[in-house]
């Protein structure tokens, strides 16, 4: 963390790119720009971490099992058309 004056406009600009940054879809220059800003801006770090945790939670939601009655009905239906 350094003591550069806080540039709110920079935060807003990077806010738009956070998902692409997380997904590693930014070009090298943009990626470096995000990293340079993030390492000196606590609000943007919080923003990035909450977004990453949101994605992580969503990706780890449990699946539901297919109801046995439906699975059986589906197989019967497929048998009838094949």
């Amino acid at each position: 963390m350094n003591n550069e004056p806080h540039d709110h406009e920079k935060c807003l600009k990077l806010f738009r790119k956070l998902s692409e940054y997380i997904d590693r879809e930014l070009d090298d220059a943009s990626c470096r720009e995000v990293e340079h800003h993030i390492c000196q801006c606590e609000p943007c770090q919080a923003c990035l971490e909450t977004l990453k945790k949101t994605i992580e939670l969503c990706k780890n939601m449990d699946d539901q099992p297919v109801p046995a009655a439906f699975s059986s009905k589906l197989r019967g239906l497929i048998r009838s058309v094949t």
Binding site: H6, H8, C11, L12, F15, R16, L18, S19, E20, D23, E25, E42, P43, Q45, A46, C47, E49, T50, L51, K52, K53, T54, I55, E56, L57, C58, K59, N60, M61, D62, D63, Q64, P65, V66, P67, F70, S71, L74, R75, L77, I78, R79, V81, T82
Partner: protein
Amino acid sequence: MIKNPVTRQIKDNDGELIRAINDGKIDKFQDLVKRYEHRLYNFGLKMCGNVQDAEDMVQDTFLNVFRYLKDFRYETKFKNWMYRIATSTCIKKRRKSKFAPDRELSLEEFLPKDESEFNTELPFWAAQPLDKLLNAELAGHLKNAVVDLPEKYRVVFVLRDIEGFSTVETAEILNLSAANIKVRLHRARLFLRDQLKEYFKDE
């Protein structure tokens, strides 16, 4: 005129099975159902929000896959082609039951209005390991939040972050540009992040 068109080589784990079915081994279609019913059912639950519509979607998708499988050209992965059918089936189903137009999510609604709205401290939930956070209540809250996403954002979010398709694959499935997929995904994630912030606000 192209004299020697280059056939795109697609590595497809389903290719052998699909070729067998299209070569006349129709009974192998049951293997395809076995392979994908679980994934499609869960895709349907997140897209439709209820068991009955999810079951209808899975059934209609498999029937359509069976009907049109002869037209599959092996130019894309079978799974991507099947999800195109599944997505279109979901969207048609929801349009029949719901006439309200999709709400737009603008980036501005997720932007802090000024510096005072920027949280400087990392909320506790963002620093917790997953196993400390994820329980049945939070999972239920998240599932409802996904269903509350306007459809055009929800479908992108579910394909990208739940089903694991890449940006390019999602663009192909939905017939949209990659740039459009990125914009919708970012807004969907911000919407869900706001729902989580709300959920944890009193803790």
